[in-house]
Amino acid sequence: MTQGVPNSTTGFALRLRDVTVRFGSVEVLSNVSFEPAVGKLNALVGPNGAGKTTLLRAILGTVPYTGTIERGTTKTSRPSRIGYVPQKLSFDRGMPLTVLDFICCGLQRRPLWLGYRRKAKQLAADALRRIGGDGWESRSMGTLSGGELQRVLLAMALSSDPEILLLDEPVSGVDIAGEGLFCDLLGSLQTTGHYTMILVSHDLSIVTRHADYVVCLNRTVHCQGNTVETLTAENLRRLYHQDVGLFAHDGLHEGHSHTHGHTHGNSADAHLCRDHDDKRGPQCP
């Protein structure tokens, strides 16, 4: 897979203007406008039921919306391609399906029972190498751990050589070790500057450590901007309607996560934690 020229800062990958989504009479999103920073990791944060996943779906085009969502032409003359990493893949774990089968589903029209296209096999191998899954092709999808499955989903997204990556709570069902590995992968993708990433997460510690740009969403955009300036206690209180405590937040105030590239070895220095966790509304899963 060719890496291509890193994106120039001119142009845009994605531009949302006045996006409104209604389910029946309920307005789930109203007048959402933002433009993710090109080649950066953009985080979409907000409480449960804020419409984060709905916004991703609008960008994907699977829910009807009003307003405009434009895809730019940052790399080639065609509109940006989107790679989507779903929150989870619920499937029958006993189903005969290898990792190669799964990735090739997105890369070839030829029926799987007539074999794989050589090109598809090559792209799948490249994508797997990038997520640290060398030689996983013949593994059965049902035997992957939660963390491994998320990495395969990332490989699936990368295999189409997208300019935009949409990640919907990619580590919500993954253990700590798997989460660390996945975040390392995101970090390495981030340093290439090749992908405009939109990460939905309500794990603020991940967001503060990794994101370049943050959009706070609760039905509409409350605030947006670079991570350090946006994730202030005041903004978070308004977003979550309750106090969000900041513990050992020196890393945050030093602007650590924004200016120093994106290492995360010292992960303890920016840790955010919400008080009154038990007060979350009934919409919690």
């Binding site: 893949l89 189903m95 005969p96 089968d101 589903c105 029209r109 989903l153 699936m156």
Partner: protein, 301 residues
């Protein structure tokens, strides 16, 4: 018309002659047995193509609902037949049978797309509705239940040349569709949103699957009967699921098992001590035996 004439006067006898030349069995002397054999060879890939999707994406109940809608289709068909004969015309219940199959398949697909109800709930509603309607019509019209026997139990040994042409055309159509759509349908079954992000038309494939399922089920009813259609579709695929490791492998195994069981079942049911046993039942029992055996050969996870 001319194709049909050629087929019944030259094509079919020619095919029978060729088959007799390669099949040195006593049963090969009977034209109806050869027809049954041809039907099995045509039908197995269709059942395999549908069965793999039904098993992998837990849609077994869907095919049950479509097959039971045939009961209503036949009941309505008999009513129309009676009405038509009053006018001196004729009506083939096969038409309403296919019509109701399509109606239920598309109805389920449409409601599934437009509401967030669980698929088995939607299918259950349609299932009960069509069976209730069928029963209401049958009891009201006082139709003889013996007339339904052919549809309930199926009868692969009474197929004529026209039936075989139907099967051949359908095999061709479903074969082309499943060659073109097998891979996209697999991804859509796994995660529709992911499939959409790869540029696949999810709605088109959903409705196409419903259409193909309705056609395959209504044709399979002639062989297995309303009661056993789901078995014909499901059991070979369920057996293959135990053995295969890859998605492609599962499909190839399903076709092989479906062929072995349908041809084998038809031959076994011809033997004198099974003379009065329904052929469809023998085929499904044989497939179930294969399934039981496959449990011992399950690939280790």
């Amino acid at each position: 018309m001319s194709v049909m004439q050629w087929w019944t006067t030259d094509g079919l006898p020619g095919l029978h002659g060729a088959l007799r030349a390669v099949l040195p069995f006593q049963w090969a002397q009977y034209g109806f047995m050869l027809n049954a054999l041809i039907e099995c060879l045509l039908l197995a890939p269709l059942c395999a193509a549908m069965g793999v999707q039904l098993v992998n994406f837990r849609l077994a109940f869907f095919s049950d609902a479509v097959s039971h809608s045939a009961f209503t289709g036949v009941a309505v068909g008999f009513l129309l037949q009676e009405w038509a004969s009053g006018w001196g015309g004729s009506f083939d219940p096969q038409v309403t049978l296919i019509g109701f199959g399509l109606l239920v398949a598309f109805g389920v697909a449409m409601v599934r797309r437009r509401t967030n109800l669980a698929t088995d709930t939607i299918v259950g509603v349609f299932f009960s509705a069509v069976v209730a309607l069928g029963l209401a019509i049958v009891t009201a019209s006082g139709a003889r239940t013996s007339a339904f026997q052919k549809y309930l139990y199926g009868d692969i040994l009474t197929l004529d040349a026209a039936d075989l042409v139907w099967s051949a055309v359908l095999t061709l159509v479903v074969g082309v569709a499943m060659t073109w759509c097998f891979t996209p349908m697999t991804l859509i079954g796994l995660n529709p949103e992911l499939a959409h992000s790869r540029g696949l038309r999810v709605r088109f494939h959903d409705y196409l699957f419903s259409l193909l399922l309705a056609l395959v089920v209504t044709v399979t009813i002639r062989t297995a009967g309303i009661l056993l259609v789901t078995g014909m579709l499901l059991v070979p695929a369920a057996t293959a699921r135990n053995i295969a490791r890859t998605a492609g492998g599962m499909f190839r195994w399903t076709i092989l098992i479906a062929w072995v069981c349908s041809v084998g079942g038809t031959m076994v049911s011809f033997s004198t001590w099974l003379e009065n046993v329904s052929t469809g039942a023998v085929i499904v029992l044989l497939a179930t035996l294969c399934f039981a055996i496959s449990l011992f050969f399950r690939r280790s996870a």
